[in-house]
Symmetry: C2
Subunit: 315 residues, 2 copies
């Protein structure tokens, strides 16, 4: 299985955090280690590797910290919060992955790149924010923030009010040329964290916006632009299921894009959960990708061999 072409692996933000600890602490390292052992094996097989990652819980922490300190120092914009999590999670991944490679006696350079992802200023997502971010507020606190900060907030069934932000469609990976250079050199690149820092173009300038780009969509775009045949989505379940959670639940091992689209149209995949992953996978396959592998940490190498997980191919 050597030299099987470029590969992009998208890791869920939840698999890189230990809710009981700071993210730089030893037990966070232990959580990340499971993922990094598989990433090291994949890099060894494929000769290079691009890792992307989510940042849901981590950007939530940034928003809480900014909110708690805003009577002392100014808040950062949400674009800056995403950049901070790219620094924090990139550091964790490159350190732990470096440890694993060192133990294996493999010398593969690793880097984490701050990545901007361009979206369209007229993306319909900006008119209809849907992505909940940050802490929960009471109705009174929410009313205050909607008035004073202009936030859009929605009630989350019984749990309180949360800010919602736009989730625009990724159009361009700003740092693509650099990522490409490093992959060409056979290195490991950690990038597009949290779906990338969302930016829009204003003439000759680019500017950060308060939004969250879906990390699987951004990763699919990156995989396409890098000409990677294989795109892996690491998530909380070992396979994609039809009739998920029902008595006739069935795992999908190998399906075509056409077959899984049919299942999606029949409503098998939950909104805000598996459905956006399937949509990202279909987008990648429509733009020339060869296969998408969806599985969970611990099963990724087996899934790449077709022995676990779900593999979706173009035809």
């Amino acid at each position: 299985m050597k030299n099987t072409g470029r590969i992009v692996v998208a890791i869920g933000g939840n698999s890189l955090i230990n809710p009981g600890s700071g993210r730089g602490n030893r037990d966070t390292h232990e959580v990340a280690r499971a993922v990094c052992e598989e990433l090291a094996a994949i890099a060894d097989i494929f000769g290079s590797l691009v890792v992307t990652h989510g940042n849901g819980p981590q950007v939530g922490y940034e928003l809480i910290r900014n909110a708690q300190a805003d009577h002392i120092i100014p808040r950062d914009g949400m674009d800056v919060n995403v950049a901070a999590t790219q620094g924090i999670i990139g550091y964790l991944l490159q350190q732990v992955l470096g440890d694993v490679l060192e133990e294996l006696g493999k010398n593969i350079p690793i880097s984490s790149l701050i990545t901007q992802v361009e979206v369209k200023a007229d993306d319909p997502g900006f008119k209809n924010p849907t992505k909940p971010v940050g802490p929960f507020y009471t109705e009174e606190e929410a009313a205050d923030r909607m008035k004073s900060k202009g936030w859009i907030m929605k009630e989350d069934a019984g749990r309180g009010w949360r800010r919602v932000v736009p989730s625009p469609i990724p159009k361009k990976i700003v740092e693509l040329a650099t990522i490409n250079s490093l992959v060409e050199a056979g290195q490991i690149v950690i990038c597009a964290g949290g779906g990338g820092v969302p930016v829009v173009r204003e003439g000759k300038k680019i500017r950060g916006v308060a939004a969250v780009i879906d990390k699987d969509h951004a990763s699919a775009l990156l995989a396409s632009k890098l000409g990677a045949p294989t795109f892996v989505i690491s998530t909380g379940v070992p396979e994609v299921y039809i009739n998920f959670g029902k008595t006739d639940q069935k795992a999908l091992r190998a399906v075509t894009a056409k077959e899984i689209k049919k299942y999606m149209d029949q409503g098998h995949f939950a909104e805000g959960s598996m459905k956006p992953k399937i949509k990202a996978a279909l987008g990648f396959l429509e733009h020339g990708g060869f296969r998408v592998v969806i599985s969970s940490p611990g099963n990724l190498v087996s899934a790449l061999k077709g022995e676990a997980g779900t593999t979706i191919t173009a035809e």
Copy 2:
């Protein structure tokens, strides 16, 4: 002045922040723009560019935010705080520098790399922390933190108590191979922010430590290891002076390492201010560097031509 070899430019953290605003806001962009216009000109002249930067005020913000939120979510280690500032400042620099290059019609890829810098676990700095970080505390608050968190704290003449952390000597740039690849490809690399995330080696693992590496020393090490003939330190004063602040103050335009070392030994350069910069410059020149240029934003291009600033040469 085309193709004059590799160049490393170290930017002060104070020239990348507007104390009145969040760091992602427009007025922070305006502050950074002055620096980035010069960096673009330098990249165009030299064909590639490595930018390093300080993070003093920014890491102070991170420490305040972590402290304010620690009743809700766990604090990150100081290594993680430095990584966050590399994300935040790297994003700002790559965005604004990208705007400037776009306006000039120059297409040079830019990236910001999360950078770990290895220090020795037995560095004497760990036994004698001297670098003040983060907010000021009252004597009572300081006593509480020294007891509950094991911090070492010192009184700062009349302004209150601050935590002090070790400032160990940088020994190895962990991500050197990647930085080298990108420089070789003629790109602009932003790295080693805040002197790098301080790490120590423990057998086959590396681990973050609560310390701050002097950014000029880390930048000098990086410049040496990249084989750059030229190392630029951008700071708050346009030139290095002898008898600074006195009636016979005199700017140094061109000096040798030997001459400036004599001035240093005579006590002309302030501890914690110009002296560490001169020491970093001397280290770079002793390890094969050709020249160090010290000047302030707005004067860097002139200084590289010998028309402003202070140029120190090996002989």
